[in-house]
């Protein structure tokens, strides 16, 4: 008996060692953002530590999404790790397409993940994708222009204040525009901003019975306020501006204020790229006094498709890339301002990170977003600037195109909302609601 047990234990042991010693090659699909490209550059460190090789498939965001969605829905099995967001994670997890990440190792410290991030990447209380970096949105503004306009930015301003300040800062002769906002159509572009903004105006996508709400007064207030403000103080061609375009406008000193992703803070304060690096202040996204602020919540996270042959190696990679040690590795090579932000509580308690000017405002913004109760009124869905149902991306992109056309002056706010309502109702009906 004893012998048999001992034998069994020995076999098990050899199996385990065999499994750990075996070097696998994992394929990772990721987006071509700066932080991921940095991760790609550090792959050697991972290979050195574990022996596993990594093949990268780096794609532009839209192509990546198309590529990984096709693969996961057909169970193509082309990738061992996919870079996905807060939108995909709960939907895919619900379908049983992702491997639960509840055993990432003893030193992973899953409780250190920011609660908002952990909630947004969990389904039924289980983590299905590990946050590589997280973001909310906030106001980035030019302190010098604000001063010149004789105004003082409060830490938590209202939309009214932002509009008035934007108009006061605008100097079209010198190509200075009070406010730069996203206008380019897309569910992850203008609709991310507008949905988050609408939350603070008391609007929502759907009521508890999944009835579309674009015919509500709150949505009309949101859209007319946005169009009016952009008309008076926005840059030309705003309807084609997404994150990138606004970033380069702000860096060139052409924007007074910019409300966008918190990760942009490190770009606009980097003196190598930004001509206004030392004149940038930060504030929470605006509200209207209804109890919700207009900021979103997003994370780029790493998930493992169910059924992959290299699950163990993939988990090793994820626990390496989203660990505290990885943050320190990046800090030692590229400086603390360049570490992937917004994922871990410990980062914001780190003495070295406290000096970073935007650190605390980023944390406050992330903490003030609630993916489970995004709007003033109750909603049947999860997600702040999106609705975590499979149909959302398609619907929101089409709605975004209507709003973008309104911003370009090709139709009125009422026409845009009417079309948005019609096409949302139609698409929801097709989906069987």
């Amino acid at each position: 008996m004893f012998l048999r047990n001992a034998l069994r234990a020995a076999t098990a042991l050899t199996l385990v060692t065999a499994a750990t010693a075996q070097a696998d090659t994992i394929t990772i699909a990721t987006v071509n953002n700066g932080d991921m490209i940095r991760m790609q550059g550090l792959t050697e460190e991972f290979t050195k530590a574990t022996g596993h090789e990594v093949e990268w498939v780096t794609l532009e965001e839209n192509v990546l999404r198309q590529r990984v969605t096709t693969d996961i829905t057909t169970k193509g099995g082309q990738f061992d790790i996919m870079t996905i967001g807060m939108y995909e994670t709960p939907i895919w997890a619900k379908n049983g397409w992702l491997v639960a990440l509840d055993d990432l190792g003893d030193d992973y410290d899953v409780d250190d993940l920011l609660p908002a991030m952990r909630d947004g990447l969990s389904y039924d209380g289980t983590l299905y994708a590990a946050p590589f970096y997280g973001e909310s949105s906030m106001i980035m503004y030019r302190t010098d222009l604000m001063e010149k306009a004789g105004l003082d930015m409060p830490e938590a301003p209202t939309w009214e204040f932002i509009r008035d300040a934007a108009v006061a800062m605008t100097d079209k002769e010198n190509e200075v525009y009070g406010i730069c906002l996203r206008g380019k159509a897309g569910w992850g572009e203008n609709m991310a901003f507008l949905t988050a903004m609408s939350n603070s105006f008391g609007a929502r996508w759907f009521d508890e019975n999944w009835t579309a709400q674009f015919d509500s007064a709150a949505w009309k207030d949101t859209l007319t306020f946005y169009l009016d403000m952009m008309d008076r103080a926005g840059p030309p061609g705003a309807s084609n501006n997404g994150f990138n375009e606004n970033l380069s406008l702000f860096q060139q000193g052409k924007c007074g204020m910019w409300i966008d992703a918190t990760v942009a803070a490190s770009f606009v304060t980097n003196p190598n790229d930004s001509s206004v690096a030392d004149k940038v202040g930060f504030a929470l996204a605006p509200d209207t006094g209804k109890g919700k602020r207009g900021n979103w919540l997003w994370a780029w996270a790493l998930g493992i498709p169910a059924g992959t042959d290299n699950e163990a190696a993939a988990k090793e990679f994820i626990s390496w890339a989203t660990s505290k040690a990885y943050i320190e590795l990046v800090a030692s090579k590229e400086g603390w301002a360049n570490v992937p932000p917004g994922a871990r509580t410990s980062l914001y308690e780190n003495e070295n990170y406290k000096d970073i000017p935007f650190a605390q405002m980023t944390l406050k913004s992330i903490n003030s977003a609630d993916p489970l109760n995004p709007s003033v009124d109750p909603v049947p869905y999860q997600g702040v600037q999106f609705v975590a149902i499979p149909e959302f991306a398609g619907i929101a992109t089409e709605v975004g195109q209507e709003f973008s056309a309104a911003l370009a002056g090709q139709q009125s706010a009422d026409e845009a909302l009417e079309k948005a309502q019609a096409l949302t109702v139609d698409a929801m009906e097709a989906a069987g609601y």
Partner: protein
């Protein structure tokens, strides 16, 4: 043309043609120039044309980030392989259409062309599912087959039109001399059709090289050609014009060079039977 042309007229022609040629070529030239600028110089206003600090740093960055050689090799194998396979299948078909025509030859040709009208996005899921079943995802052979099928109608049509221009009497003479069908194709037809086959191959290599839907959607890490390489450089965060230009230049350079060296064949051969 034997017409005497005054030098004055020739000079006007030259100036005019060069102006238009440069205008058409300008976007490519601009991309190549931008690839040697720094990111800041790439968006400078007013733009620099030639007088900037030429740098190779963008190429270094691109090379460091992605394994260009592998993408290039995949492109060569996929574009070359699909074209050769296509020609091998198309030659007999085009031969029989050209020399043993029936009432339905025209219809078959038109039908073949019409298979190209099926919108690719509409059949992505069916094809993807078939590829999973056959284990062809992310393999070069899978892409060779798909691109061959996509371009086969064009290849058949081009070869058909070249073969038709070959006088039938020569073939008949060969037949009377006792040549078998195989010999007829191999020793009589093929040598005469070489220029036509050459330009068919050229055109289809170009088409296959530039195909960006299937090559992107059916590959992952192993079989991705240069179209997948480019997809990792479009619109990242921050300034990217110079790096995008460098990647673009690397992606189009091989085919551009091939095209330039063989432009005589292209100019002479690209007729689709349009010239009688």
């Amino acid at each position: 043309m034997a017409r005497a042309v005054t030098n004055q007229r020739k000079a006007i022609n030259t100036a005019f043609a060069w102006a238009i040629g440069l205008l058409i070529f300008f976007p490519i030239l601009w991309t190549i120039l931008t690839s040697f600028k720094t990111e800041a110089e790439a968006i400078a206003s007013p733009p620099y044309f030639l007088f900037f600090d030429w740098t190779l740093e963008n190429y270094a960055v691109v090379q460091e980030r992605s394994n260009y050689a592998r993408y290039l090799w995949n492109s060569i194998v996929i574009a070359g392989g699909s074209t050769l396979l296509g020609v091998i299948i198309a030659v007999p078909a085009a031969w029989s259409m050209a020399f043993v025509p029936s009432k339905r030859t025209k219809d078959i040709l038109m039908w073949m062309l019409s298979t190209k009208m099926l919108p690719a996005v509409g059949v992505l899921y069916p094809i993807y599912l078939i590829f999973i079943k056959m284990g062809l995802l992310d393999t070069k052979i899978g892409l060779v087959v798909v691109l061959m099928l996509i371009n086969l109608p064009i290849i058949v049509w081009m070869l058909y039109t070249y073969f038709r221009e070959i006088p039938g009497e020569i073939l008949e003479a060969a037949r009377i001399d006792g040549a078998t069908l195989r010999e007829e194709i191999l020793y009589v037809l093929t040598p005469m059709a070489i220029p036509g086959i050459a330009s068919t191959i050229l055109l289809n290599v170009i088409l296959a090289w530039n195909e960006a839907f299937w090559t992107l959607n059916l590959t992952a890490a192993k079989a991705g050609p240069l179209t997948a390489f480019i997809a990792s450089y479009s619109s990242p965060e921050g300034l990217f014009y110079a790096k995008l230009s460098a990647a673009s230049t690397m992606a189009i350079a091989p085919i551009l060079i091939l095209g330039w060296f063989s432009q005589k064949q292209l100019v002479r051969g690209l007729t689709f039977g349009a010239v009688k």
